[in-house]
């Protein structure tokens, strides 16, 4: 027993858990219904397994969906890019469709975790983990995406901007499964993402993603997503509103950054003080708006974070 206690003190392993493997989406839903709220979906596991080691998550049953390769896709259907939620981060990063239509996702994936974690971590897993610092949540919010959720009563769609209900909380009910993200491909658009992190692969101190859609030299519509700085639903809605219908000038972009910073609520933590994060929210918003604008105009301008 003493030896066991000593081992427990030095070894981080998940607590006892049951395990089942889903062989189809329907089967996953059946298993979720059978096991109830004590069950958790296991995708890449790169958020869930570390949380289980620390006892921050203690599911009774894991339902492994890694065999559901029919949830692994990125395709263009009509004017929508559709991403299956078991798509690995590395696949999203490597996708030519993503580079062509949603540079914001490509930018974000380059700085999500590290290349090895991206090999196995999934898009849906990251979204459902719903960490307030998660990059794709901000990127999909900026792009005004739609989440497709399947459950016992069929399929429902939820705006990316209503997907998160709080830190580590989403609208996905215990019996439901997030299966797809849909992003509208709209003409005249450009997008970009930047993050400031303390070291390669770390969570952001602050991060911003932006999309603009131009009508001539006027910003017809804009989307701004913020991660790690306490933005409600990962969105800087007031800054978006300010830009809508405004001339695409440097002055507008600077002002939008200021508005984004004033509307978020960063907290001081080990990654930095709140006032620095607020500064980042402003500066990064303006920078990604510049990049998005350049890309919308067909000039692929890249800046260093």
């Amino acid at each position: 027993m003493a030896q066991q206690a000593e081992e427990d003190a030095t070894v981080q392993v998940p607590a006892h858990v049951e395990y089942d493997k889903a062989i189809s989406v329907e089967h996953a839903l059946t298993l979720l219904a059978r096991y109830g709220p004590g069950a958790r979906i296991l995708a890449g596991g790169h958020s869930l397994i570390p949380m289980m080691k620390l006892r921050l998550a203690q599911p009774e049953v894991l339902i492994d969906i890694n065999g559901l390769t029919d949830l692994c896709y990125i395709n263009l259907t009509g004017d929508q890019l559709r991403i299956g939620t078991l798509t690995r981060h590395a696949q999203l990063l490597a996708s030519p469709l993503v580079v062509e239509h949603f540079a914001i996702l490509h930018d974000a994936e380059r700085v999500i975790a590290d290349p090895i974690v991206r090999n196995w971590g999934t898009v849906g897993g990251s979204l459902c983990q719903a960490d307030p610092s998660e990059d794709l949540s901000a990127a999909f919010a900026a792009m005004k995406g739609t989440m497709v959720i399947r459950g016992p009563r069929g399929t429902r769609e939820v705006s990316a901007r209503e997907f998160h209900t709080g830190p580590y909380e989403t609208v996905v009910a215990p019996a439901e499964l997030l299966t797809e993200i849909r992003l509208p491909v709209r003409p005249g658009g450009g997008s970009g993402y930047q993050k400031v992190a303390r070291r390669a692969g770390d969570w952001p101190v602050g991060a911003a993603g932006a999309a603009v859609w131009l009508a001539g030299d006027v910003i017809a519509d804009a989307g701004i997503g913020l991660a790690a700085v306490g933005a409600m639903h990962f969105v800087a809605a007031e800054a978006e509103e300010y830009l809508r219908g405004r001339a695409a000038t440097e002055e507008s972009l600077l002002r939008a950054g200021e508005i984004a910073a004033s509307s978020c609520h960063p907290v001081s933590d080990q990654r930095g003080p709140a006032d620095y994060k607020r500064h980042l929210a402003s500066e990064l918003t303006t920078r990604v708006l510049r990049i998005a604008l350049a890309r919308a105009r067909g000039q692929d301008r890249r800046e260093r974070a």
Partner: protein
């Protein structure tokens, strides 16, 4: 307990395991393949990198049961017919290992990189190993070793 069957370095193994068992512990403790190292346990350091089917993963963050029916490749599976893999040879040649702790993960990532990009730039090598930590801070020689392997063995 549940029955786990998988292939490691070309050999099929079947063992009874608890679902919570991590792949790194399965490899080291159940199969005795201690070449893969168990480091930070938080998917930061990459000492535990092995291939799962065709991709490198951090095996401290994968349950052994998730590897059921899959192929795992560890550092023990790199040498062939008594000949070191060119990447292993390069690490020896260029002093790419100091204490050796990060080495198995670094080598498996390097092997994957060269399989997909036989002539990487220095920046590409550094990006590829950016999720792995060398506690001797010997990155310079690790990068040199990967580049040497690319240049002197055609990456193969």
């Amino acid at each position: 307990m549940m029955r786990l069957t998988l292939t490691v370095n070309g050999t099929e193994y079947s063992r009874d395991v608890e679902p919570r068992l991590l792949l790194i512990h399965f490899l080291r403790d159940d199969l005795g393949l201690t070449g893969s190292h168990w480091g930070c346990d938080t998917s930061n350091c990459g000492a535990c990198v092995v291939w799962l089917d065709e991709t490198p993963v951090k095996s401290c963050t994968v349950l052994a049961v998730m590897a059921a029916g899959r192929r795992v490749r560890t550092v023990e599976g790199l040498a062939s017919g008594g000949e070191l893999d060119p990447v292993q040879h390069a690490f020896a040649k260029c002093h790419g290992l100091q204490c050796g702790f990060c080495t198995p993960g670094m080598i498996l990532t390097a092997r994957w990189l060269l399989d997909h990009n036989p002539s990487p730039t220095e920046a590409e090598v550094r990006e590829a190993i950016s999720g792995q930590i060398c506690r001797c801070t010997g990155y310079e020689n690790i990068v040199r070793a990967v580049l040497w392997a690319a240049q002197n063995a055609g990456g193969a």
